[in-house]
């Protein structure tokens, strides 16, 4: 076996040296009745060439963004990834290492994560960020648990326009703890949450809003924050499309106490929804309740600057059942990808790419609205996603688009029964104008 260096002969010698007659003897502490007599019923070993052929065939069964124009968003976004990202994270020194427990030989990972934390603070307008959680949905669940720890309150107010799968994850995490999650309705005209309908009480631990929300509509964070803060509740802002931060005011300026999000847009491939990147940022005064690894600056005896994992007394390996979270392995390589992506884009690149997303989405939205039988469902401000209302059956529209190699959007009925005539459309900078024109022509032909 090519991944096992020692030859059978070398293994036999080592066995002899430790005084064992057979390999079987090494497993003597496993009761005999549980030791397998037969090989596992698994497919026979494949050579490298056979393996690649097998997976190429499977990969070809998917409608990938290389073959189709993908107008799907909803928490996963098809953006262009600069070549440097893959080249750099493919360095074995980044991807064949583990959690930097030994800072003297892990400064590469640690400094890159420190830079990632800084970039997330700069973009969100928050004071501190951790070194990543699993994804946006679990980051939100962790934020809810943190709000409960900080406020000792039992109620969560969450906008119904938060990503439906994120809401499900919050429910899974909170049900056994007996937290009460109350949903807030979106305004049927604008698609946004009206601040006056946000009615937290003295029992409310947190108010949760996503912006841009699941419908792509930008929320009035400042007004909602005020409502939350009136009763001493924390304000949690969710971002599933962080490219929007290239254009939009950062939640930290608008009263957010915790910002969580999905960082996949920052240089991480779609990869059928994972690996992704859980973003988590908060205020400095809450840092000791923050979950996850945190990297901080430290100095050696000669006064040279370096970086270490810090505030470990929050963590499971020290605190066990009193830890702020159970997290151990998270998504550090994805955080480094985001750091490389953001360094590459810089302030101008991030603004440019955000503007292209907004302009392309605005263009398709205008063109769709001109087609008879179609209109924009919500009147609020949008970034790169919007909801289309169709007088034709949604399934038919999407099928016609699919025939032209276009994945035209996400039908919303499964998530919002009242929006059964609607679908969610996303346009990123990676969609060429020709695909947008084809899209419009297909609708025109209906």
């Amino acid at each position: 076996m090519r991944y096992i260096p020692n030859s059978p002969q070398e293994r036999a010698e080592m066995l002899r040296e430790i005084g064992c007659a057979t390999i079987e003897e090494l497993f003597r502490s496993i009761p005999e009745k549980f030791r397998l007599r037969e090989p596992l019923r698994l497919p026979a070993a494949r050579s490298e060439a056979e393996l690649l052929a097998f997976f190429r065939e499977l990969a070809a069964r998917n409608a990938a963004a290389t073959e189709y124009a993908v107008f799907l968003g909803a928490g996963a976004y098809h953006h262009f990834i600069p070549s440097v990202v893959e080249v750099l994270i493919s360095r074995a020194e980044f991807f064949t290492v583990y959690t930097p427990y030994q800072p003297e030989i892990a400064q590469g990972t640690l400094q890159a994560l420190f830079e990632y934390q800084t970039l997330i603070c700069q973009l969100t307008g928050m004071e501190v960020a951790n070194a990543s959680l699993y994804d946006g949905s679990t980051a939100l669940a962790e934020a809810v648990l943190m709000a409960e720890r900080l406020t000792h309150r039992r109620e969560i107010l969450m906008a119904r326009s938060v990503h439906p799968e994120y809401r499900e994850v919050v429910r899974t995490y909170t049900r056994t703890l007996g937290l009460n999650v109350r949903l807030m309705e979106y305004d049927p005209e604008t698609g946004s949450l009206q601040a006056r309908t946000v009615t937290p009480s003295a029992e409310t631990a947190a108010v949760i809003v996503q912006s841009p929300n699941f419908f792509g509509v930008i929320e009035d964070l400042e007004a909602i924050a005020a409502r939350a803060h009136e009763v001493g509740a924390l304000f949690i802002v969710v971002i599933t499309e962080p490219i929007s931060l290239g254009l939009l005011r950062p939640p930290g300026e608008l009263g957010a106490d915790i910002v969580v999000g999905e960082g996949q847009s920052f240089g991480i491939p779609l990869s059928f929804g994972g690996p992704s990147l859980g973003i988590f940022a908060t205020r400095e005064r809450f840092v000791r309740q923050m979950p996850g690894r945190i990297v901080g600056q430290a100095f050696d005896a000669q006064g040279r600057r370096g970086f270490v994992m810090t505030l470990a007394t929050r963590e499971q390996y020290i605190r066990r059942e009193r830890a702020t979270s159970n997290i151990c392995t998270s998504q550090e390589l994805c955080a480094i990808m985001a750091a490389i992506y953001l360094s590459t884009m810089g302030p101008r690149g991030l603004r440019d790419v955000a503007e292209q997303n907004a302009q392309k989405a605005a263009y398709l939205a205008r063109e769709i609205a001109r087609q008879s039988g179609f209109r924009l469902r919500f009147s609020g401000s949008h970034f790169n996603e919007f909801v289309v209302h169709s007088e034709h059956p949604v399934a038919l529209v999407l099928e016609r688009l699919r025939e032209r190699k276009i994945l035209g959007g996400l039908p919303l009925e499964r998530y919002y029964p009242e929006l059964r005539e609607c679908f969610l459309v996303c346009v990123t900078e990676a969609i060429p104008r020709s695909a947008i024109e084809t899209y419009v022509r297909v609708l025109d032909e209906l």
């Binding site: 991944y3 260096p5 409608a63 020194e93 030989i105 699993y134 390589l333 994805c334």
Partner: protein, 512 residues
Amino acid sequence: MMVTPCQVTRDEVLIFERSRPGRTAYSLPPLDVPTVPLQTWIESRFLRTDQLAGLPEVSEVDVIRHFTRLSRWNYAVDLGMYPLGSCTMKYNPKVNERVARLEGFAQHHPLTPEELSQGSLEVLKKLEELLCEITGMAAGCLQPAAGAHGELTGLLLIRACLEARGDARQKVLIPDSAHGTNPASAAICGYRVQTIPSTERGLIDLEALRRAADRETAALMLTNPNTLGLFEEEIEEIVRIVHEAGGLVYMDGANMNALVGIARPGDMGVDVIHLNIHKTFSTPHGGGGPGAGPVLVTSELEPFLPVPRIVRRPDGTLALDYDRPRSIGRVRAFYGNFGVLVRGLSYILTMGPEGLREVAETAVLNANYLAHQLKDTYEIAYPGPVMHEVVFSDKRQRAYGVRNVDIAKRLIDYGFHPPTMSFPLIVPGALMVEPTETEGREELDLFIAAMKAIDRECRENPELVRTAPHQTRLGRLDEVSAARRPVLRWRPKESSAPSGSLSEERVASPEP
């Protein structure tokens, strides 16, 4: 402007400190659609006004140099032995990287209609089936993104199952040798944790377990082989005790590298197990993730698995089933860390049944070889027939004022990544060594030689060991001060210099 000499590739500053106004590294095609004033699409009060000040302005060359230099300060599996106990730092096969990067996978949107996602769904279904066969379980869920996430999922499944039995319970039993994630996961699920002591042989204390297992016991969380590298020989009796008390047995599969192809937890009566794809199944650890922590269960627990389940339709195609009324719900968005899972499948298909058995055999042989060669030099707190890892301690070296941390740091000077330190907690001064099957004998012999040399140094020149490492870019970092006054992000210097620029210029100087 002052110029400070430095060694260029060893003294790389922060990317923000490299920033120079006007530099760029990005490339975008020109915007090819008719535009409108942005304010007609986004109300101007929502637009940012700060020009993203502070983000670095660098060229592509700067980005490459910066991160390449940083990477060289990391010790990696591809460089040498990384015997970090309990973490299974084995070789990460390169063909798996190629597989995960196939465009059909990497560019596949998770909300693509099912009929256009059959390739990715087949990957997930196949992996679930193979993991069931490897563990002897009935069904599984691939959503959890890491081991601890799998623990959380598994305990929620246990809670749901007990509630369905009409017998919700309050506590989870956890041996004192367990990984810290076990109690932390139990707490998130609302369980009280009761610690079960280990015997002097390092195995779970059956008498203590009998006393603790009662009508309030929801589950025992058991790592097997345990963190001392010992197989719980009384597994049959352990399972019987917990089941008779009406509880379920959760197995932490972090150490499955010792068992794969040798024995199956399902055959031992385990009800729920999580696996770490990034340990046993060779996917890269990435500096602390992404990993994957699938959960496998018995048929009794199957109805409670997270949604969606991947099901095969009568026509052979695969579909996502959301209609699972007894499910605990989702544990993350979409379907898990697909890119990690596809690498795991690639590994299993490369190894085949004989190859996987060879993995466990060689991993256990390598650990026993190290234990044998070093047992006269370093104390083994719980000498038993070790499996895939062995826990030494600094007991003998402490007489010379040297502790485990010093030995670990000195190993760095010999070119090795140190073992896991100070864990498990029941071994004072622990050094937990897991060589894995992907170390050759000569590498193991070099490690043994280094450990013996350090032992000699402890006696002859303990100061040398206490002040190690001596050959790294930085010496030991002051972690206490770092935690007391945490600096968790870079901020521009308060100075008249333009934001992001340095007041000092650097110039090359030879390495001292």
